[in-house]
Amino acid sequence: MGFLDIDNATKSYGAVEVLHKVDISVQEGEFLVLVGPSGCGKSTLLNMIAGLEEITSGEIRIKDQVMNGVHPSNRNIAMVFQSYALYPNMTVGQNITFGLEMHGVPKPERDKAMHEVATLLQIEQLLDRKPGQLSGGQRQRVAMGRALVREPDVFLFDEPLSNLDAKLRVDMRTEIKKLHQNLGTTIVYVTHDQIEAMTLSSRIAVMNGGYVQQLGTPQEIYDTPANIFVATFMGSPAMNVMPAKVAMLNGRPHAEVATHDGSMAQLPFSQDNLAAWDGRDILLGIRPETITDMDGADRKSSNIAQMTNRIVVTEPAGSDTFVSMQLGGRDVIARMRSDAEVAAGQDFDFAVNMEKAVAFDPESEMRIVP
């Protein structure tokens, strides 16, 4: 039993099922991020938790109370919308206290709560302004203030940072994280930005096509993706996925991958169970940062494989240098230290940290679990 239970929740519009038996249990104080591409059903799920959309079948419970059919205002939730949804005709102060007013809280208490929240978010000087006179970041704070003032059981965030410019987004992201750490509230947060998902969450639900593809901590999602969708959706640049063949060498399963000239690179797996796949095709997944130069290889890793391949393009990005090459017939990107000595057209000795490599079944696209 969690704090917020989503139990086999399904949503259909007519005959079209858009969410298929979603099953998530959120603990108190947890920061759950729903992440996925547009149309994956993450906002629909959030709206179902909020009560703005009905549940076709299944159950949603908050603190063991079934919420199906309960009006949004009686669920003790608060929501921060993508557009902030501040009431344009009211001042910031009125915006923040509107919910309390609707719940019949007397004015002195409302004002007290408003000032507490305004102090917390540093927006006291804005209380008498109208939303139209605020900047994007200020509106964002007011929207959060409106949610905080109600002291709800669950906070729902619907892509709250996507309307901000890049720099402000990073600042506000840190701020939301701080707020969560200080207040210890339960948060469900929807985003399509996988970096937001990784940085903010205590757990992530990766969604696609109305299914939860994987539910786990950021580290689990990143290191052991359940399938190719999760592997390529999370991480930037995306995980390199290339066709390979499993071959036994010295009693150990290796991945055989074609390099630029057709010769085979042999990369030893750390997972012994892949011996069962001897001679079969797999899809090999390698994160860009696990392909480096020999000096930059992870010293803690017990399985660094060496591979010679030709560099096609180098892209210095300041902190890193991205190097692309041909591997298994695909464009593969390596993320190196910025001072790695690389040049396009050069044959280069790469170090591949095979401890972090994952293998996928090419038919089901699921990860081959050790």
């Binding site: 949004p72 205002s73 939730i77 929501m79 919308f81 949804a85 009431y87 344009p88």
Partner: protein
């Protein structure tokens, strides 16, 4: 935007510019001519008009025709002037405008923010109200008013105008609210506001421009209506337009043109005033939502 129009505007020389102004001034004089005739003749003694000086400025200035038109001219059988009928019109217009505007706003709110099955079909049917000719509804409407016991009353007339106006006001408000962010409604729902609280506290305060459009449109249409007034009102509930007609059409005695002119201006005054006061909001409201800002 303004930059672009400046760059692409046709460059004109001094002569062409002068020519354009001359033509424009001539046109405006032409359009203002009827107003001049009405105003100048309404402040002349009758002899100056019958003496053939219709286009002249008044030699003797008098407000007598205005006073007579307002309070003592013969309307039908009673020498009451237009005054009682002016109040009839006010009593008909004010409730009809308020009620039809509020109902239109409510309809627009429901049709955009509380969507239900077949709502677009319902809206389509309501739009028919904008295109039905007045004449078609005369007889059924008379029967309905009779059944409701409202025949020949100002309230009955107001009801007719409310019914006829809802199509327009619904159209205005629906289109205005269609671009009103639905997230605001959802936020208010989560905050605990009910159906009418959302309407009064969130939606209506943001509806200024379209409310002005609706009010001007309804006011001018209802005030200027003649057919419904002539068909459904009795002698005591006639609106201004019908009374003006009776004043001008009376076939006994001398035709007092100066009084007729004054009466016509009196009848037109309220719509003119409304338009002058609120006109600039009218265009703004009509444009709202049609162009994405």
């Amino acid at each position: 935007m303004s930059q672009a129009t400046q760059d692409t505007a046709i460059r004109t020389g001094r002569v062409t510019r002068a020519l354009i102004y001359v033509v424009l001034i001539l046109f405006s004089l032409f359009y203002l001519l009827p107003l001049y005739v009405m105003l100048s003749n309404s402040v002349k003694p009758l002899e100056e008009i019958t003496g053939g000086g219709m286009m002249n400025l008044p030699q003797v200035f008098t407000l007598e025709p205005w006073i007579k038109a307002w309070s003592s001219a013969q309307i039908g059988v009673e020498p009451t002037g237009l005054r009682p009928y002016f109040w009839n019109s006010i009593k008909m217009v004010v409730p009809a405008v308020i009620v039809s505007t509020i109902l239109g706003a409510l309809n627009g709110y429901v049709l955009t923010k509380w969507r239900f099955k077949y709502d677009t079909i319902l809206f389509g049917l309501m739009l028919f109200a904008c295109f039905i000719p007045f004449q078609i509804v005369l007889i059924p409407m008379a029967r309905m008013l009779g059944l409701m016991g409202l025949a020949g009353t100002t309230w009955g007339l107001a009801l007719v105008h409310v019914v006829y106006g809802i199509g327009f006001t619904t159209l205005y408000f629906r289109n205005y609210y269609a671009v009103f962010p639905t997230e605001l409604i959802r936020a208010a729902q989560i905050d605990g506001a009910g159906f009418f609280q959302i309407f009064w506290r969130i939606l209506l305060p943001s509806s200024g421009p379209i409310a002005v459009v609706s009010i001007i449109w309804q006011f001018t249409n209802i005030w200027n209506d003649f057919l419904f007034g002539a068909s459904f009102a009795d002698a005591n509930s006639q609106p201004m337009t019908v009374a003006l007609n009776n004043l001008v059409q009376s076939s006994t005695g001398v035709k007092e043109y100066n009084v007729h002119f004054a009466g016509a201006i009196l009848a037109a005054m309220p719509t003119l005033l409304v338009y002058i006061v609120a006109g600039r909001y009218f265009v703004r409201g009509l444009m709202a939502g049609s162009v994405k800002g």
